[in-house]
Symmetry: C2
Subunit: 254 residues, 2 copies
């Protein structure tokens, strides 16, 4: 039997954000592989083998999935959000490149999903409506000075910023430094959005400004968006809307 | 009757990439407003008024949608991809801010969608698996020197790049200049992906290197991804996989 490997994005949490393509892939799987809270989002059924694993075990998980597919199983690797954005797809290709030559010709497909920054931006309005960057603030796999360097260059280019993995129990200090760098380069008035667990029961949205942003406003389930110099806030009777206009110009001296 | 306005992302084209949330919104709409090829993707039904309009009429279209919602209609503004990424959501908030004060307290929701870069990246592998930028190459609403400035700073920061709207009949020359800037800053060997109309019947994928990339490889339906310095290509018996590893380090001198 010829096996297959699908790397699928489950979206940010809500079932109404799972694409039909991903739902179909899960319905046809013999094995589901992934970080345990994401595997827990897949309804169990007879004949479906679930392979939950711990955080930071990405490469072992990817190798297991490739091995199972090579053995003829129909494997779905599940990621939260989009599998290609700070998630499992890169780990699968890292494992493929490092593994046996036959793995390169397995039947592999990547199915996109709604990544956290798109869900967060939609709740807040349209803060990513003009040019923007996505930066992973975790320094588990890259040196902290590289993160600071990218924050400074992105601010200089006047991108809006989507910041993934801002803060976790094992990395309590980096986000405070990131906020300090951003205050220095973008000023205190820049709009900031803290979007936690969008589309789940724990969803929470906070709109503030860089001068008032505190590290404790983020945890490992928060996606942070920092506006560009043109980002605007529209006051309403409820939570304000935040959007970045489609138009931009060069600042004097640029 | 209290109206509502939903700004919905239809995804890149294929029906299996439309989220259930967006499908439900379309089923409940009284009016659908949008650029005509996107409105054409909504199945007509009795009682549903379709309001297709031309390209570059974004603000008028947004004002029409807000006016209809204010009159008590249930309006869905449709965008291709994600409505918050170079699409209609920003135009809706621009029109809201410029319009009558009552528009600010309308029942407005933005529903995310699979934006072109996620669909393109998934087809190619995982080229956006590490930090990246999204840049709109159209100079209709910003000066060309700002685009070049952002390309240079993004290359200096070693982001992978997702380039939207690389080329159109009315802007035949910008993309050639963008490629020249990128060759100068990133070198000839950098992997480049041309992903055309992913998930539609016209889908085409081409993987090449900056030294071999030609302006004619892109049109208005193409999304271009340029790798970072760490992006890798895995040869297979078919189209190669392109991915950016999760790990990065500072280059000497940085």
């Amino acid at each position: 039997m010829k096996g297959s490997l699908i790397v699928a994005g489950l979206g940010p949490g809500g079932p109404s954000l799972v694409t039909p393509e991903v739902a179909t892939a899960l319905a046809g799987a013999s094995d589901v592989v992934g970080y345990f809270p994401y595997v827990a989002r897949v309804p169990p059924r007879p004949g479906l083998a679930l392979h939950p694993s711990d955080n930071r075990a990405e490469l072992e998980r990817a190798s297991l999935a490739l091995r199972l597919a090579h053995e003829g199983r129909h494997v779905v690797v599940v990621s939260s959000g989009d599998p290609g954005v700070f998630a499992m797809a890169s780990a699968v290709f890292e494992a493929m490149e490092a593994g046996p030559a036959q793995w390169r010709n397995l039947d592999v497909r990547v199915l996109p999903g709604i990544t956290a920054m798109l869900a967060a931006a939609a709740r807040a309005g349209a803060p990513l409506g003009h040019d923007f960057c996505a930066i992973n603030l975790s320094d588990n796999l890259k040196p902290w000075p590289l993160i600071e360097r990218r924050l400074r260059l992105a601010a200089e280019a006047d991108f809006a910023l989507a910041l993934y993995n801002p803060r976790s129990a094992s990395r309590p200090h980096g986000f405070a430094r990131a906020l300090a760098v951003l205050r220095e380069t973008c000023g205190e008035a820049r709009p900031v959005i803290f979007a936690r667990a969008v589309s789940s029961a724990d969803e929470a949205l906070r709109v503030t400004r860089l001068g008032d942003a505190a590290p404790e406003m983020a945890d490992m389930r928060t996606l942070v968006i920092v506006g560009s110099s043109t980002t605007r806030v529209i006051a309403t009777d409820g939570s304000p809307w935040v959007y970045t206009p489609r138009t931009a110009s060069l600042a004097p001296g640029e």
